[in-house]
Each structure stands twice: as structure tokens, then as C-alpha cells.
Symmetry: D2
């Protein structure tokens, strides 16, 4: 795996640009040569099940996609469009910060694969998955 092309400051800035990332409250809280970590504060609007109070799977899917993308962006120097993504749900995500870790799995000249895991504050694995991203140089 090649070295990172973006510094932590540069990546944090890139993550912060998108309105949807701002709404989610995404913050880059760690980054090294192995991958990145995002922290996401809980929002009431995340909830799908009012009685039990757990977060919508779509929020977790979004976090998997974003984190895997930016783990690749760290290596390539730019975020990349998602070709497809998949999420496995392991446990309900109750109220509390979410910690998302992601790693580039394979960097190719045409497409790249990244994977990500969503944890609760106690380190329990809530969801995990992968995205495939287009890295063909744009015309």
C-alpha cells in the first residue's frame, strides 16, 4: 500500500466540505498509514425506531461509504465516486457517539476497494461493509 498523499489537516478539510457530512457532524479524529477514523455525534434525527431509540441503518450505510471513500482518498489524494457498496448489520446502534474506522483494501488504476467498521463508544462492532470506487482518471 503506498504512503498517504493527503495530510490529516487536508483530509479533515475535504471531509468537512459536503453539506451531508456537515449535517451528520462527521469529524476526522484519527489518521495514519493504515487508515482513518471518523467520529459522529448522535442526533435525534438518526433514529428509526422510536420505542427502542436506535439509529437508522441508512445512517450506518452512509458512514461505511464515506469512511471507506476517505480512506482511499488519503492514499490517492482525492475522494472517488462510489461504484457500489454493501453493509452488514451486526447490532442495533443506540444513542451515543459512533466511531467509524476505514482502510483502503486495494488501490487499482481503474477501481479501488475500501472497507469500514462502525463501533459504539464501548468498542462494540455495530456494522461493517465495503465500497468499490472508480479511480479511472477523469477525462
Amino acid at each position: 500500500m503506498p504512503k498517504n498523499k493527503l495530510s490529516r489537516e487536508e483530509l479533515a478539510e475535504r471531509v468537512a466540505v459536503a453539506p451531508f457530512h456537515q449535517w451528520l457532524g462527521l469529524e476526522l479524529t484519527n489518521m495514519d498509514e493504515k487508515g482513518i477514523e471518523l467520529t459522529v455525534p448522535w442526533r435525534e434525527e438518526f433514529v428509526v425506531n422510536v420505542e427502542l431509540g436506535y439509529t437508522h441503518g441508512g445512517v450506518l450505510a452512509t458512514l461505511i461509504d464515506v469512511a471507506a471513500d476517505y480512506a482511499i482518498a488519503a492514499k490517492l489524494g482525492r475522494p472517488v465516486p462510489t461504484i457500489d457498496m454493501r453493509v452488514d448489520y451486526h447490532r442495533p446502534a443506540f444513542q451515543g457517539n459512533l466511531i467509524v474506522k476505514a482502510q483502503a483494501l486495494k488501490l487499482g488504476g481503474n477501481f479501488c476497494t475500501g472497507e469500514a467498521q462502525v463501533y459504539d463508544e464501548k468498542g462494540k462492532l455495530l456494522a461493517s461493509g465495503r465500497g468499490v470506487y472508480l479511480s479511472v482518471p477523469l477525462g
Copy 2:
């Protein structure tokens, strides 16, 4: 495929309960024995790319998951927890209403499969995918 167990009014009510669905502005705009249709008004917070103005893939992933789930809910009489889901991205989703169609693919006693498609207002296919849902009777 069995007959629907929920009426359109009942399903619309169920969809409207979740805070995340309310934030997304989901509305059940059609339903028959073959499947359901949700309409989603555009929101500025959906945007991932400010220059080009297109919607975050996580929003589209959410819509695939929700719609496939409620297509199954129509048949089973209740929404079901997502085991896993996958999305293919076909075209960028620019500003405008999103129309989401979904169908139950297979109803089983242990798990169910549903699929969904996200279209723009002109009927262009933007994203499509599938979810697998747990239908084991709970405790």
C-alpha cells in the same frame, strides 16, 4: 407472492413514524400488490458535491433500504430488521424529487429479500439495490 397485509393508509402511517424518515421527507405515493413507491423531496443537506450539486450516495442507499423494507412490510404486516444491503450507483442524483420503487423478491420464514430502484423526476435510473431482512418471529 401473498396478498398485502397492510393497507396503503396503514403503510403510510408506519413509514411516517421514524424521525429519520421525517427528516428525509419520505412519502408513500403509491402501493399495489406488486410493490410500493416513495417520493422524496430534495433537501440542500443531501448534497455531497457542492460544485456539481449532486446527492450523497448514503441518501440513496438509505432510500433503497427503506423502500425494500416497506415493500416487504406490506406483505408481512410489519417492517423487518435489515441483515445486510447493497447498492449499485448508476448516475449522479442532481437536484429534484427522487422516486423510489420497491418490490418484495422472496418472503421466507427466516429471512426475506427485497429490491428497490431510485429514479429522478424524468424516470432516469439513478441507483438500485437490495436488502435482506430478518423475518424470524421475535421472542
Copy 3:
């Protein structure tokens, strides 16, 4: 969706070249502008569960991948390398011919999506899934 670039004879010939396709006994039994159909005779070596006699999921996964690829090949004029693929298993596949149908879902200049369904001789849906294929011109 554009018109087919390969005739049924040309596609049948292409399918027959690969040693693994020969081992599987794949035969192109139908093709029109909407998609293709392959028929696969049962083989004893397909079995995973000796007591119940049903076919290995890996065989069904292979059929999904091949069929979706050749549905795209019919449109593009050549088979394309698989980027990733996913299969949902709906019912066990007992002894008997397998019929596989596939359709190109989206043709793009960088990547294409296809989907496929595996049926038993009575038309029961056994498995279905999708593949994403690289269509960037090589070299």
C-alpha cells in the same frame, strides 16, 4: 439500452470457449434484446449436501456471474472482467437442469451492471444476484 452487437451464434461460441464453462455444461438456449438464457445440466459434482442432494452455492454464484457478464457481452460485443458480484440464495437447488436468465442493467463507459436469476425446471427462483463489470477500454 442499445441493440445487441453479437448474434446468438457468436455469443454461444464465446460462452463455449472457457474450460470452466465446458465443465459446467453451459449452453446458450435463448437470447433477445432483453437478455440471455443459459441452460445447465445437473452434474453429480455440483452437490454440496450428500444427504439432501442439493447443489453448492458456489455453482449458483458462478452461474449468476457468467450470465450477467454475457448479457452485457451481447450489448458490448465482448465479455468484461468482473469487478465484484453478489448472490442471494432463495431456495435449495435439487437435482435437475438449471435455467439462468440475465439482463444488462446499466451500460457505462467505465463500468456496467448486470443481473441474473437461476431457476429450476419448474420455474422456481433458486438464486439471484448481480455483478459489476469493468468496461474501460483496455490498453
Copy 4:
């Protein structure tokens, strides 16, 4: 993650029963509390591309499914039916032994998730993926 319920001998025996596993030449070559390793000798019938001589993606998909399943079987004491599976292809698999490693990711009372990686003899990652398996007690 709980301790293994099957010994290496017991698991090796289980793997060897299925006719399709025999045809593939699957051999359990390692196993510890973290996961399992299968080794697969090359067969001419695996080939999809005669000119370049690389193995069919369906063979790699099969290996992902089998290995993830048996990594879970080691923990649960029995193999489990596949609900769905996904494979990412990273590099072509040329002639030579294939080494497949797999780990149980999450064991649940209703369903389990496992993941697997296929390597060539030099340790290059060729494909990787996941399966979701039904663990509801039968009958």
C-alpha cells in the same frame, strides 16, 4: 468470539464430504481460534480465459463462500446455509495453488457473518468477500 467447537480433524472431515469440495480439491491446511485456511490445487478446468490462463471468478466466489462458512462452522460446531454472499475481485488468479483464509466476523442466534480472502502462492491478494449464514436452530 467463543472458542472453536470442532477440532481441526473434525472440520477437515466435514469439508471433505461434499462432492463439489472434492472436485475442487479443498484441503484444510490450518486452523486456530482466529480462523481457518484451505489450500486448493490448480485444475485446468478452473480456467476462464484460455489465452491468459486465469481462473474463473466463480471458482474464487465458491472459495470465499466455503471458507467463510467453515470458519463459522468451527465456532458453531456445524456448517450453516448461505443467505447471501459478495466477492470483490482484486487481481487475476493465474496457474498455481490458491490459499484461502477465513474468519468468523459475527456470530448471532439468527444469522452469522464470515469473511474470506483468496491468495496466490506468493501471498498476493486475489479476491476477498463475505457471506451471511443462517444460524437459526432448524426444526
